[in-house]
């Protein structure tokens, strides 16, 4: 961002009160689990507190002063998010409760008998394409769609290096394909996928394309118009915003053609006893009282990230990732699952330690050093099966992490090896 102060991680850390707390036993907190959920800066916490303390009312339906202040804040957050992701129209930004709901919303538009739009018709013989590196949230909604409609679910394989294998792109994506939905940045491998070759093929066969951007929007500049895909899903809590708020961006013309997802208050135009008509997007997809304060908080999160600069955040994380990849690979018996260079890769590093189960690794890192990492299959079980391992340990970095914290991780891993050696 023009005029922004130079990136200063120590200054940034002061914005996140939780980073200076101590854990029981006087352990300092080393938070390396932002891929799971990020911490929140004072700017977000205070904006939410201020809204609850001074402006709270229901949105869109209350005519009084608080109702209009709340509506203004809620819709203002939509404007901020639209600008942050380069949405051509604010009406293309739909608030959901998380990325999972965003993906489900799109999946339920397909094969729905009330939807007569040809692009969303799905039946036996039709195909849905995802990849082996998906989070369960971009697997299960499509499995359910396949089960409902008799369509076939197909998968892009993953290479040994942890890259998307698109060698058989032309066969996998074909005239039977209705939608391709893949992850923008893997929550396990850190791999950043290039959507363009896939999108070109998707357009050739007349299918639609969705990106699960839960791990990319928080960490790099993402411009949905530039990406050129049809739908993008992401979530607030991974981008210094609160939990309980997610976003679906979709091309307006498609959102207009899709049937409602959840029915209820505020998503209607008029209701009769025998039928209803629906509000225009985005409100058609926002049934019931939405997560108001959470949306306002996400607006503040976007302001915060913009004030630091997404390019700066990306650059900082790239430095951390390079540092971590180098330091971790010096540990004997440590195997990185995913690309070993910083090329087309984000700050999520998963690994195994020979002979030691990740749950033991994570427990000792936490107990002894206060290092928070994630252990397990990270909601990406098919990917772990692909690599023949039950689980990994994952360190994931964000704008507030430091190389000193990576040093602490390396020291911690040496200690783990001593305990189990």
């Amino acid at each position: 961002m023009n005029g922004a102060a130079p990136f200063d991680v120590e200054r940034i850390r002061k914005d996140f009160p939780i980073l200076s707390r101590e854990l029981p036993g006087g352990r300092p907190l080393v938070y390396l689990d932002s891929g799971n959920s990020s911490q929140k800066p004072t700017q977000v916490i205070e904006t939410m507190r201020e809204h609850l303390a001074q402006h709270y009312g229901n949105v869109g339906r209350a005519l009084h002063a608080l109702g209009s202040e709340s509506t203004e804040a809620y819709e203002g957050a939509r404007d901020k998010i639209a600008a942050f992701i380069g949405a051509p129209s604010r009406d293309e930004v739909i608030f959901t409760k998380n990325a999972s709901e965003s993906i489900n919303l799109v999946a339920y538009a397909f094969g729905n008998p009330v939807n007569t739009d040809e692009r969303f018709k799905v039946g036996p013989g039709d195909e849905i394409v995802i990849s082996e590196m998906e989070h369960h949230s971009n697997i299960v909604p499509w499995q359910l769609l396949a089960q409902r409609t008799g369509a076939t679910l197909r998968w892009f394989p993953v290479t040994d290096e942890g890259r998307l294998d698109i060698d058989r792109l032309d066969e996998l994506v074909n005239e039977r394909t209705k939608i391709v939905s893949i992850v923008h940045q893997s929550n396990v491998l850190g791999t950043v996928n290039s959507e363009s070759p896939i999108l070109a093929r998707v357009r050739e066969v007349g299918a639609l394309m969705m990106l699960d951007a839960s791990q990319s929007v928080p960490h790099q500049p993402v411009d949905v118009a530039e990406l050129g895909v049809d739908f993008v899903a992401f979530t607030g809590h991974k981008m210094v915003g609160p939990s309980g708020i997610g976003v679906l961006w979709g091309r307006k013309e498609l959102l207009d053609a899709m049937p409602p997802f959840l029915g209820g208050g505020e998503m209607i135009e008029a209701v009769w006893m025998d039928h209803s008509t629906y509000a225009p997007v985005p409100h058609k997809f926002e049934a019931g009282t939405p997560p108001i304060v959470e949306a306002v908080g996400l607006g503040a999160a976007v302001d915060y990230l913009t004030s630091i600069g997404m390019e700066e955040i990306k650059r900082h994380e790239k430095e951390l990732t390079g540092y971590a990849l180098e330091a971790l690979q010096e540990i004997p018996g440590l195997r990185i699952i995913g690309p070993r260079t910083v090329v087309a890769r984000g700050g999520t590093v998963s690994f195994t330690l020979e002979g030691i189960h990740p749950h033991d690794v994570g427990q000792i890192l936490d107990d002894v050093y206060g290092i928070a990492v994630r252990v397990g299959h990270h909601c990406a079980r098919p990917l772990h099966l692909r690599f023949g391992i039950p689980a990994t340990t994952r360190a994931s970095f964000y704008l507030y992490n430091t190389t000193a914290e990576i040093d602490a991780l390396v020291r911690g891993l040496h200690h783990v090896q001593k305990v189990f050696g």
């Binding site: 189960h357 990740p358 749950h359 033991d360 427990q363 000792i364 107990d367 252990v375 397990g376 299959h377 039950p390 689980a391 305990v419 189990f420």
Partner: protein
């Protein structure tokens, strides 16, 4: 949490490997972390537990628990081992507030610290739940 005894059993598991003959075999998994155990039970006259054999993979807590279980159950009676299962379960579900009965638990008392970590209690209980299940099936 990582008592020397737990690490010892993890590094040098006792009675590991599936053996014949057996009356029942069960397979239990812990879906959240992928721990798994396959367990066989062979009972003899007078409710005697002749052999408990097992195989599995997972974290140190889950695998050490199976090893300790093998030691505590083999050669005892079903009734005796069920009281150990009950006491162990009570200890694990006690959120670290329960005083363990060392006379009943023997070496299994080393797992007392696990009870303070709700996410790990299932790891410690995996083999014991499998054992209980295998007993029911062998007596069916």
């Amino acid at each position: 949490m990582y008592q020397e005894l737990i690490l010892e059993h993890y590094k040098h598991p006792q009675g590991r490997g599936l053996r014949e003959p057996y009356d029942a075999e069960v397979h239990h998994v812990n879906p959240t972390c992928g721990d798994e155990v396959t367990m066989r039970v062979k009972l003899g006259d007078g409710g005697k537990v002749l052999d408990v054999s097992y195989d599995g993979q997972g974290c140190s807590i889950s695998q050490a628990a199976a090893s300790v279980l093998h030691e505590l159950t083999t050669g005892s009676t079903v009734a005796e081992t069920l009281s150990v299962v009950d006491e162990f379960t009570r200890l694990m579900q006690g959120r670290g507030q329960v005083e363990a009965d060392e006379d009943v638990l023997g070496d299994a008392v080393a797992f007392a610290g696990v009870a303070k970590f709700p996410a790990r209690v299932k790891c410690a209980l995996l083999a014991w739940m499998a054992y209980k299940d295998a007993l029911v099936r062998s007596q069916a």
